[in-house]
Structures are given as structure tokens and as C-alpha cells.
């Protein structure tokens, strides 16, 4: 692929960027704070796809790009490269999550019960147009229960394993820098499971949904049921120079298990991501469940879905097609004209002489 340098475009480029930014107006600390507080789910989505957890940076990226999500994620991924990696935290485990929402579509009586948490699952979708007429839409306050919910909930999968419904997970012994990391190693196939799950954690939500939905509609090998869905907060456990492990704070995480009912035992697909984004983790867990024995080139084949749901690469590749391709395009035109001329010459030579 070749590009041709454009001369005389500097002013136009500068002005085009000014035109983009002029529509956004001033970016102020107040605007960033408002985006952060008013759009937590958008912030979560951007942090998950950027693979960088900080609400202020995500809000700033959204403010700076006018909500152009691919650009916002790219900004954050680029900024991330300026920072040193200080540590690798202790692995988060499901039973240690500070749980806000935890439901199962497979079993109604799971140990610990089901809490809906913050959700619009059962809401009427009615646009509050009165706001456009100058009124304030004020949500009804939550009526707290007398007793708090347990902060930690047991694992549904562990309970199923105890009852012989599925094979118990064997805890990994790799920790710290020994855990494979796709930001430092190439993604090769068949992929390490750690690479697969990390790639899905940072994948673009729409891409994961499109391919996961294809599998759910029947273009996969297994139809999923949500075994357990959680929205929670995880402690970031780091180590003091004296060796004491402590929590440097909490981050929001989502995780989903989906289950297949084929065979003698249940099979699980799993996904988790930074931030609260349950559509993404259900779709991603569906892909994980379906990837085993998926046909080559199908939407549920690991190589296919991991390559095509990496948002920065895919959006970057897509938009690069609008950049000047004059040399390659002209080259193709020359080849076309040459082929046409040769064909015409051949046809002429084939004509009988007069």
C-alpha cells in the first residue's frame, strides 16, 4: 500500500481540526465533572474498551472528542502508553466482589438469592419529554431495606460443581507478571485462554454484541442461558514495600457466565470487563462458550471474533480507507487500462485480414 504526500494541505488540516473542535466549545473542568457524574455507563464502556480505569480521564476523553467513542478510546489507549506499570494486583476472585447486582436465569433459588441491583430490565421505556418543556425529571428515591445485603455472594458455579452439574474450575497458579498479557505479547492462535479473556475484556461492545448475537440467534454451536450475571466492585490489592497487601481502592467490574445444556454436564462460557457493561459480558461469554469446535471462519471461531472485535484496530483500519490512496488507485487504473488495451489489441489481431 502506498500513499502520496499532499502539499499545501497544512492550513486545511489545521482549519479542519479547528472546525471539529469549534463545535465542542470550551472544555472545562466543570464539563468533565458533569460528564463523569451524569453518564456513568458511558464512562464505564469507554474505560472497559480502553482497558484503562479512571473515570476522570474517560470523561475528559469523551469531552475532548465530542463523544466520538472510537476516538475517545484511542486517546485513552495512547495516554496509557505514557504511564509506567507500577504493579500487577492480586487476582480478583468472584466471592470477594462487593456485589451490587447478581442474577441467574438458569436457577431461581441460587445460594445467596438474587438481587436486581441498578437496572432498567423491567422498566417502561418512556422518554421524559417534559424536560424539554423546562421541567426537571427527578427520579423517585430508593427505599432502602432495613438490613443490608451481604457484601459478598457465593459463586453459583462452585455450587453447581459441588452438586456434580459441572466440572469445578482449577485455580490458576500463575500470578503477577507471569499471567499472559496481550498488551505485551502477540496474539497467536490457538490463543492462550488468558489472552482470549483479556481481549474480550477490552473488546469493542458493538462488535462483541454483533458476533455474540449471531451465535445466540443460531449461527453458533450452543444456545446460552445466563448462569450468573454480576455487577460489582473489586478491590485493587497491591503490596506495600514491607510486604503488607492492601486495597488501593475499588473499581467497578461486570462478569457473566453463560451455560450450555448439551451433554452430560453443563459447560460454562465466561467473560468479565472493567466497568458495568452487561450486554458486552453476556455476548462475550456466549462467544467463549461457542468457540470450542467452532468451524473455521465462522463468527464464533476464536481467531475471527478476537480479531474483529478489537475496536481501535478495526475502527482504525476502517477509517484509513478514506485517506489518500492515489498511488495505489492510479496503479490499479493503469493496470485496468493496460489490460483493456491488450485485450483490444488481441481482438484486433484476431480479426481476419481484409
Amino acid at each position: 500500500m502506498a500513499y502520496v504526500a499532499t502539499r499545501g494541505g497544512e492550513r486545511a488540516i489545521e482549519q479542519s481540526q479547528r472546525l471539529f473542535k469549534a463545535e465542542l466549545g470550551d472544555i472545562t473542568p466543570e464539563r468533565v465533572a458533569e460528564i463523569r457524574s451524569a453518564m456513568p455507563y458511558l464512562i464505564d464502556r469507554v474505560m472497559g474498551e480502553a482497558s484503562l480505569y479512571d473515570e476522570d480521564l474517560a470523561a475528559l476523553a469523551l469531552a475532548q472528542t465530542g463523544g466520538e467513542l472510537y476516538e475517545a478510546v484511542l486517546l485513552l489507549r495512547a495516554w496509557r502508553t505514557t504511564q509506567p506499570r507500577i504493579a500487577v494486583a492480586e487476582p480478583v476472585t468472584q466471592d470477594a466482589l462487593f456485589t451490587h447486582r447478581r442474577i441467574s436465569a438458569a436457577f431461581k433459588d441460587i445460594p445467596g438469592g438474587q438481587v436486581l441491583g441498578p437496572t432498567l430490565d423491567y422498566a417502561h421505556r418512556i422518554l421524559a419529554t417534559e424536560v424539554l418543556d423546562g421541567q426537571t425529571h427527578r427520579p423517585e428515591p430508593v427505599e432502602p431495606a432495613a438490613k443490608p445485603a451481604p457484601a459478598n455472594q457465593p459463586s453459583v458455579a462452585a455450587w453447581q460443581a459441588e452438586n456434580g452439574l459441572l466440572r469445578a474450575a482449577v485455580p490458576d497458579t500463575q500470578t503477577g507478571n507471569d499471567i499472559p498479557d496481550v498488551t505485551r505479547e502477540p496474539l497467536l492462535f490457538p490463543a492462550k485462554r488468558a489472552h482470549t479473556l483479556q481481549s474480550l475484556a477490552r473488546a469493542e461492545t458493538g462488535g462483541v454484541l454483533a458476533l455474540g448475537y449471531a451465535a445466540q440467534r443460531g449461527y453458533g454451536q450452543a444456545h446460552p442461558t445466563v448462569n450468573e450475571l454480576r455487577l460489582a466492585e473489586a478491590e485493587v490489592v497491591v503490596t506495600h514495600p514491607r510486604g503488607t497487601q492492601f486495597s488501593a481502592g475499588r473499581v467497578k467490574v461486570s462478569q457473566a457466565e453463560v451455560v450450555s445444556k448439551k451433554g452430560e454436564q453443563l459447560e460454562l462460557g465466561f467473560s468479565a470487563t472493567l466497568g458495568w457493561n452487561e450486554v458486552k459480558v453476556i455476548a462475550a461469554a456466549t462467544l467463549d462458550l461457542n468457540s470450542k469446535s467452532a468451524p473455521k471462519g465462522s463468527a464464533t471461531e476464536e481467531e475471527f471474533f478476537l480479531y474483529h472485535t478489537e475496536g481501535v484496530e478495526s475502527s482504525g483500519f476502517c477509517i484509513h480507507f478514506k485517506l489518500p490512496h492515489y498511488v495505489t488507485f492510479q496503479s490499479s487504473l493503469y493496470a485496468m487500462r493496460d489490460a483493456k488495451a491488450k485485450k483490444a489489441a488481441k481482438e484486433k489481431s484476431a480479426e481476419p485480414a481484409e
Partner: protein, 147 residues
């Protein structure tokens, strides 16, 4: 850094650090700043922002994988043969330094009553916040019935 670090009665080092890491930033800075005057000369070993990679254990097969990186602020200081350390989520170098100062003060056995009082107040506020959150979560508990 050879002398044994001191602690606070009734507090593990882990609990002390976890509460400081989650303490209100303004309150923490306001508490830590006056401590400096009575501490030995402080050497700042590190004060920076950086990333902590956060792994998780997959519940299907038990595999550890990386969820993504978390922005943190870190401070590491030394004085009087002890080290103070702070790491907090977010981009606030002053808050991380304030945490390190309190950690150092506790390690040196300095201002123990004040540190204890600050930690107990911060811990109580954090527990109250958690309980309020969980009472709101409990209000969404559902008993599914099949027909």
C-alpha cells in the same frame, strides 16, 4: 530502614492502609500536612502516577487473565529509618503523599492518638457508606416464582 516499624493498637497494617487508600482526599491531605513539621527530614523516594494491572480469575476454568489497568498515584518516602507508602486509585499525587506521610508517622510511632482518631473516623465513614449502599441493594432482592 532497620528498626521495627510501629503500628496502631487494634489495627493491622493492612486495615490501616486500605482505609487510608479510600479516605476522603481533602480530609486526608488536611490531616497529613501538619504531621510533617514534627517528623524527621523526609526523603521522597517516589511520587508518581502509574498503572496497576488488575487480573481476575475466570470462574469457568480458573484461568487468571488481565481485566485492564487502573490508574493510581503512588508515593514512597523515608525518614528516621522507616518508610512510608501510599497508593491510591486516581490521579492525585498529593493524596498519595498524604497517605505515605500518615503511614510513616504510624511506623515511627508519631502522633499515634491523632492517627488512630483519623483512621477510626475514616473507617466509620466508609463502613456507613457501604452499609447504605447494601441497604439499597437489598431493596432490590427478588424472589422468583415459576408458574
Amino acid at each position: 530502614m532497620t528498626d521495627m516499624a510501629q503500628g496502631l493498637p487494634g489495627w493491622t497494617h493492612e486495615a490501616q492502609l486500605s482505609v487510608l487508600a479510600r479516605a476522603d482526599d481533602m480530609a486526608l491531605k488536611a490531616f497529613a500536612e501538619p504531621l510533617i513539621a514534627d517528623l524527621p527530614d523526609i526523603e521522597v523516594i517516589e511520587n508518581r502516577t502509574g498503572l496497576v494491572m488488575l487480573p481476575m480469575r475466570d470462574t469457568a476454568q480458573g484461568t487468571h487473565f488481565h481485566l485492564g489497568e487502573v490508574l493510581v498515584s503512588e508515593a514512597r518516602i523515608g525518614a528516621g529509618g522507616q518508610e512510608g507508602y501510599g497508593m491510591r486509585r486516581g490521579r492525585d499525587l498529593e493524596a498519595a503523599m498524604a497517605m505515605a506521610i500518615v503511614d510513616l508517622a504510624v511506623a515511627l510511632g508519631h502522633a499515634q492518638v491523632e492517627c488512630l482518631s483519623f483512621l477510626e473516623a475514616a473507617s466509620k465513614a466508609q463502613k456507613t457508606t457501604d452499609i447504605e449502599t447494601l441497604r439499597r441493594v437489598e431493596a432490590t432482592r427478588v424472589d422468583m416464582e415459576t408458574f
